[in-house]
């Protein structure tokens, strides 16, 4: 169905259930759906699994969600950063589960979920601790590891612009995980800087076609 246009971020995250797997876009601050995460904090869902490249920075956004003890598990490629003290503290206290996934496997497992791929073999991580316990197979003389899709109940992504149908475009490296996560979740929510009339985005330039977008909320110009 054509994307619903929400009045504010709270409406955009309404109904996210306890126990959901939430895909959160962004790489650093680029493409990070800050207002949607803040709304998710207000919304109250708990026992969440968060799939994102990092595990929160400073005391805001994802880190604030973690600090509220709302996240049971983080699936990410790089939790450890200079300002990831909230995650670090929870992890060292044994109060949060962590699955570290090579960044390419993270992206490809999300894509697989969106593309109807049940599992795939790839060489990343073969012979390393991150492949321990996983099925392997030699293909074309090389060890491959079997990887499974990561499906989201919800994807929260940041994009640049949407049209009224929900077609999305991004800006520069803020594109990152958004287009992939949009395909991998049952409910995709996008925050955008602005929403334009249908026909104002050239069909050749659409990055995320409207079929993947369920809810859109405009959060105004870039900070």
């Amino acid at each position: 169905m054509t994307a619903a246009h929400c009045a504010d971020p709270d409406e955009a995250v309404a109904g996210i259930a306890d126990g959901s797997t939430v895909l959160v876009g962004g790489f650093g601050m680029a493409g990070m759906p800050v207002q949607l995460i803040d709304a998710l904090i207000r919304q109250g869902a708990r026992d969440l699994t968060v799939v994102s490249n990092n595990a929160g920075n400073g005391d805001t956004g994802l880190a604030a969600l973690l600090a509220e003890r709302r996240v049971r598990k983080v699936i990410c490629s790089f939790p450890r950063q200079s300002d990831s003290w909230v995650f670090d503290g929870l992890y060292r206290a044994g109060e949060i589960e962590l699955e570290v996934v090579p960044q390419g496997n993270l992206a490809e497992r999300l894509r697989a979920a969106g593309a109807g791929i049940g599992a795939f073999f790839c060489p990343t991580g073969a012979g390393t601790p991150l492949a321990e316990g996983k099925e392997t197979r030699t293909i074309a003389g090389r060890t491959h590891v079997l990887e499974m899709p990561i499906h989201g109940d919800v994807a929260l992504i940041g994009a640049h612009r949407s049209d009224r149908m929900g077609n999305l475009v991004y800006r520069k490296t803020a594109r990152n995980f958004g287009p992939v996560m949009a395909t991998a979740a049952a409910l995709t929510v996008a925050q955008v800087h602005d929403v334009v009339e249908i026909g104002r985005i050239d069909p050749e330039h659409v990055v995320t076609p409207s079929i993947y977008v369920d809810r859109v909320v405009a959060v105004g110009s870039e900070q």
């Binding site: 894509r111 593309a115 049209d163 149908m165 077609n167 069909p203 659409v206 076609p209």
Partner: protein, 210 residues
């Protein structure tokens, strides 16, 4: 009176929800596009890489770079998007289309679909995107006549033609009746110029009334 192709298309169009993302298979299902109500918001997908496809192109509208899956020149609607073949089939195979409508040689009571190969030994096999559509869409509708030209039923206990997909068909729209296929068997939703008893007598498939 049994339904004409155009009337069948209208019945299918009526059952497609407003705003649905839909793929209409090559052949008869393309007729359905003419029967959506104005403002239905139905968005058509074509597997050669486009969403929000418009009607067939006429005269100067014809652009060789813009065709549907049947290679017929078409138009674009505002809000359309283009993508490459792997992205297009990921959309189909990943379960993102609400409905696809396919033609068929045979559908089994269990929802198996046969629509790509008659099994004739000298036929050159050609499948296109049928197998991907059959397994990918949230709902798979079939649109066909209920009986072949030789009078044999096309809704059968088991397909004798090579399969396109297993247990994938949800609805069968025919000239004589509409059927819903599910775990509880085959239900007749509607008949056209005939009765459930008459149809039942001509099929080898047990039928339930709606």
């Amino acid at each position: 009176m049994s339904l004409s192709k155009d009337e069948m298309a209208a019945v299918v169009a009526r059952d497609i929800p407003r705003g649905a993302y839909v793929n209409l298979g090559i052949g008869q299902p393309t007729l359905i596009a003419d029967h959506f109500e104005p403002g239905s918001g139905v968005v058509l997908h074509t597997e050669n890489g486009m969403l929000n496809m418009g009607r067939a192109a006429q005269g100067p509208e014809i652009d060789p770079d813009l065709t549907n899956a049947g290679k017929v020149p078409v138009t674009e609607l505002p809000g359309s998007s283009y993508f490459h073949h792997a992205d297009s089939f990921a959309m189909m195979r990943g379960g993102h289309l609400d409905v696809c409508v396919l033609g068929a040689f045979q559908v089994s009571a269990g929802g198996d679909l046969a629509n790509w190969h008659t099994g004739a030994p000298d036929a050159i096999p050609a499948v296109g995107g049928a197998m991907d559509l059959a397994i990918g869409a949230k709902q798979v509708f079939v649109m066909m006549t209920l009986f072949a030209k030789d009078g044999s039923p096309k809704l059968v206990p088991e397909c004798t033609y090579p399969l396109t997909g297993m247990g994938c068909v949800d609805r069968v729209y025919t000239d004589l009746a509409t059927f819903a296929l599910g775990a509880d068997g085959v239900r007749v939703l509607e008949t056209f110029g005939t009765t459930v008893d008459d149809i039942s007598a001509r099929l080898d498939v047990p039928l339930r009334r709606a």
